[in-house]
Symmetry: C2
Subunit: 256 residues, 2 copies
DNA sequence: CCAATTACAAACCGTCGGTCGGTATGTAAT
DNA sequence: ATTACATACCGACCGACGGTTTGTAATTGG
């Protein structure tokens, strides 16, 4: 560089965490107001009162703002959900449902955030953005769920071999159709994808709690709960074919 | 310009309709493969074998490609749906449902198109894109539906004052939550928006046919069909308040 | 056959996301 | 105090992309 005089604003130095937070605040407000594409980095810079260089010192890219915001939101959700879980009584399934209900209630109350959320998330052509965000939330939520599942195993309410996988699956389930579809069904790559998607979709809309659902796991195993008995949640291993049979049976049962 | 020699390619001139079609083909293929943002105008130019000037002669903007693609798709859907309608017997409602079922079946068969579709549509910050596309389809579908509704009036199955409005409402209903929400509920601006959205959403997922649904119309009127009797579709005028009452009642009814 | 219009080419432009060299502000060891 | 090092921050610059403008060859129609 040639004559870089450090003349101009000479802004006050902030603790890095505070600065990051400030930028996130400005960005979130703007995104929620105008959406993703309509907000330029320059807008954020102005709103946050920082230079481009400063910004890119704290964030690696525009998308990074998104993940940052998502992580913050997720943390808030987890706080609500965690207390709901702690206050719940009953077996592991009951506490799991309490946890899920807690996060659902947060979403119900913070509709503006959720709307912005889905608007931006639903977008991508190649899901890299979505993927990144999903990962961000998964990292935070999975450990908690893993605990819950482990409790359920001791408890007798769950019957699974791998707590980690199960936790990830549950996150996927609660996350919106897409992820479930891609991570589970597609990878299982068993038979008709779209039929599977439809089934999953129907299942997922069914009730508020995570019962009454079905899912093909990566390795062709199946998570399954019966619509007759909401209290029972079976997570076990079957072949995809058998899973489809059962799913069809469930559909026929419900349709009549 | 300075030395624009028209030296280079000197491509074969095509009939404008053909050229447009060719560009749309190239663009659609690319978008379906890579998504919206990952495809640049330059990519489309190369794939279609045309220059920038040529492109902007046929289209006004990148978004215009989208509307173009959507219009084509809509036409295809209408063909399927129209024949389904023509082949159906029964009253106007039966034919209306046949029409809708026809379009649904097209969507079920062309999943790749639909996936691309929703990916792109769900995006925008300020819905201008979505709006435009909605308009494009509405222009094509509304007249057909208007016919159907008119038949229903003679027929006795419908009881509406304005065939046009009714047709537009039906399009909105079948179009995905958003539009219904904005066009109907928001404009009605009666009470709690999000609650209304939730109700509508639930209602819309209910069944495949357009029965069993409820909708607030712009002027505060209401389209309503009873869950008890799928064959009856009432479209009439009420106040938004009364509509909410009824909606609540329906919810309570179904929840138990 | 010539003028007007159409279909196209390609240079050009403004904006936006992102980079990079450099400076200002600490803070800790000497 | 001074030095040494880390890190917060600045702002000129860059390439890519969407879109505009200028220029030209083919087509049409009178």
């Amino acid at each position: 560089m040639e004559l870089g005089n450090g003349s101009k604003a000479a802004r006050k130095r902030m603790a890095p965490e505070d600065r990051r937070e400030a930028i996130l605040n400005a960005a979130q407000a703007l995104f929620m107001e105008r959406g993703w594409e309509a907000v330029t980095i320059a807008d954020v810079l102005e709103a946050a009162g920082i230079s481009k260089g400063g910004f890119y010192h704290h964030f690696t890219a525009k998308e990074d703002l998104l993940t940052g915001i998502v992580v913050r939101m997720t943390q808030q959700v987890i706080i609500v959900a965690e207390t709901a879980r702690r206050e719940a009584s009953g077996d592991a399934l009951a506490r799991l449902n309490a946890f899920m209900a807690g996060s659902v209630s947060w979403k119900a109350e913070n509709t503006a955030e959720m709307r912005f959320f889905t608007n931006v998330l639903a977008k991508p052509g190649n899901d890299i953005l979505y993927r990144r965000i999903f990962d961000a939330t998964a990292v935070a939520v999975v450990p908690v769920l893993e605990d819950l599942v482990a409790e359920g195993i001791e408890d007798g309410t769950f019957d699974v071999t791998d707590t980690r996988v199960t936790a990830e699956v549950i996150v996927g389930l609660s996350h919106g159709r897409r992820q479930v579809l891609e991570d589970a069904v597609v990878r299982a790559s068993s038979g008709d994808l779209d039929e599977a998607a439809r089934l999953l979709d129907d299942r997922m809309r069914a009730e508020g709690a995570i019962c009454d659902r079905l899912l093909c796991l990566p390795q062709g195993s199946v998570l399954l709960s019966s619509p007759q008995d909401h209290r029972r949640m079976l997570i076990g291993l079957t072949t995809p074919d058998r899973a489809n049979e059962q799913a069809d049976a469930m559909c026929r049962h419900k349709d009549q």
